[in-house]
């Protein structure tokens, strides 16, 4: 009998990264299933951002292995990983401030068009650049700001724009680093709606300090502390976990 194993989209084995004398990520074994929303939480300096940067290719790992969709991507540069379908939104908003909202998203859409021109689907089924951009703008509610400069947008809208740019690439895995940081309560609510909307054909990793937001969305939550994984469970289990409470939620 062949045992049924849940399809693992991404997994890491004994992943390490140090900065000088500080071990930022230490022997992390992590596994992510296709289609889930995974929350990653932990106190400041727990290594969350470093860890996802190792996944996206921003930083190289010192040792260990990363496998994405069955391919060992450990040594690959960020742009190759992005082409395989890993997208990353920065903790500090990273967009093209000097370009219009449309152009911002078009840069993302162009990657997708390049990729799909290599596939064998008939040309009629492939969406055009403007169609992709318009869809992403509508989804994120930015369609009214189409021709404005990205730098002129309100902060919350800039964060949405970064999501729109990444959605235009049509990633398999979207990693969101502190997406709700600096957003108002209303904006967070809208944002939650957006993520629920885009999750249907995607896998998400969510790093955030806003616990109710994470607990509301995530299927599973990973708690990091001092570079390692402290606990992993569904949101309810995490909230009951005594170790987590001491390390993070307060004594």
């Amino acid at each position: 009998m062949v045992a049924l194993v849940a399809v693992s989209l991404l997994s890491t084995r004994k992943l390490n990264r140090r900065f000088g004398g500080i071990v930022a990520v230490k022997d992390v074994d992590f596994s992510l299933e296709q289609g889930e929303i995974r929350g990653i939480i932990g106190p400041n300096g727990a290594g969350k951002t470093t860890f996802v940067n190792l996944l996206s290719g921003c930083f190289a790992s010192d040792s260990g292995q990363i496998v994405f969709q069955g391919v060992d991507i450990t040594g690959q540069p960020a742009w190759k990983r992005a082409r395989l379908g890993i997208a990353y939104t920065f903790q500090i908003t990273s967009i093209y401030p000097g370009l219009t909202v449309f152009e911002n998203v078009a840069i993302g859409a162009q990657v997708r068009i390049r990729q799909s021109s290599k596939s064998k689907a008939s040309p009629d089924e492939k969406p055009g650049l403007e169609e992709i951009v318009d869809n992403c703008l509508r989804l994120t509610g930015l369609d009214r700001s189409r021709t404005r400069l990205a730098a002129e947008l309100a902060y919350g809208h800039q964060r949405l724009l970064e999501i729109a740019v990444n959605l235009a690439v049509d990633p398999v895995l979207l990693i969101l680093d502190e997406p709700t940081q600096g957003l108002s309560v209303d904006e967070i609510e809208e944002f939650t709606g957006l993520l629920k909307c885009i999750r249907s054909n995607r896998t998400l990793i969510l790093i955030d300090h806003n616990l109710p937001f994470v607990m509301n969305l995530a299927d599973r939550v990973t708690v990091m502390d001092q570079g390692g994984i402290l606990a992993e469970n569904d949101p309810k289990g995490i909230q009951r976990d005594v170790r987590v409470k001491t390390a993070y939620l307060g004594e």
Partner: protein, 320 residues
């Protein structure tokens, strides 16, 4: 609306080139030669602007590409008796190869380091033209022989001693370069360039190989600059090491900044303004460089993005 502005800007570009083609009928003879020179230098600046204006890479060594084209075209004509068209094509290919090689090395650096590395390569090229003066003619340069003053192409005899022929050859080359750049800038390629300029790390994280994008732009930029150099040498029948000196690298940068980096017509306009400024002041005072400097400072103060860059920002948003 987008359609409309696209047509409007294309019309403007073609209009400018059409205007240039009419100038010989309006202006006195003296200007013909000047404008011919300006147009070739504008082509050089156009190539420079691809890298500086669109990709955001400031090179201080583009004179080496200009000189590379100049020598790659001039030396075979002088020493081996090549025909002009063949020498020109050869120079284009050699410039592209040189740009690819130097790009592959220099693009490993960024920012100030990139400026220094390109400057260094350029100085090496300049000194090499002096060192091998038995081949290159060094400082004094070489005057191309009689046979290189005329050639036959497609059954047509082209006489390069005629000012008219030189003028329209230069215009033809400039127009071709401008339209090629215009097309690329408004395509996916131009979008990649601007994406690298505006936010390189974001662009890489979206799945673009930014090194390759920069290398491609470097090759295009170097090839255009080299073609301008080849045209200069062949049209005026003279090749010399001054063209490899730092002054020419700075000129390309100045023309581009003045006219407006990141606009197609900017380098062309900048070349004209700069050339005529020097021309005007040198007629009135020996301190013409000082006067030109003052004008440049004023321009930078009031038009920090260059003439066309500032116009675009304030009024003409559709300008590519």
């Amino acid at each position: 609306m987008m359609e409309n502005s696209g047509k409007r800007s294309l019309a403007l570009h073609i209009g400018v080139l059409a205007l240039l083609s009419l100038l010989p009928f309006i202006l006195p003879d003296y200007h013909h030669l000047t404008i011919t020179r300006i147009m070739i230098l504008a082509m050089f600046a156009l190539g420079y602007n691809v890298l500086f204006g669109y990709v955001g890479l400031l090179s201080l060594g583009h004179a080496m590409f200009f000189a590379c084209g100049l020598y790659a075209a001039g030396l075979p004509v002088y020493h081996l008796g090549w025909e002009v068209p063949l020498a020109f094509l050869f120079a284009v290919v050699i410039s592209a190869l040189a740009a690819a090689l130097i790009g592959a090395i220099a693009l490993r650096t960024q920012g100030v380091a990139f400026m220094i590395v390109t400057l260094m390569f350029s100085q090496v090229a300049y000194l090499a033209t002096l060192y091998f003066s038995n081949v290159t003619g060094g400082d004094e340069g070489l005057v191309l022989p009689e046979h290189a003053r005329r050639f036959e192409i497609l059954g047509m005899l082209v006489d390069l001693t005629s000012p008219q022929v030189r003028y329209y050859t230069a215009l033809g080359l400039l127009s071709a370069s401008a339209l090629i750049v215009y097309r690329w800038v408004n395509s996916g390629l131009g979008r990649e360039w601007v994406a690298v300029r505006e936010n390189e790390s974001r662009t890489g994280m979206l799945g673009y190989n930014t090194f390759l994008i920069k290398l491609k732009a470097m090759v295009i930029s170097g090839t255009l600059s080299g073609s301008a150099g080849a045209a200069y040498g062949l049209l005026f029948a003279y090749i010399g090491s001054t063209f490899a000196s730092i002054q020419y690298s700075i000129d390309a940068l100045l023309f581009t900044l003045l006219g407006g980096a990141g606009t197609v017509l900017g380098p062309i306009l900048g070349s004209f303004i700069m050339f005529y400024l020097i021309d005007f002041f040198s007629g009135h005072t020996t301190a013409y460089l000082l006067a030109t400097g003052v004008v440049l400072i004023l321009l930078i103060m009031y038009f920090p993005l260059g003439v066309l860059g500032t116009l675009r920002k304030r009024w003409l948003h559709w300008l590519p």
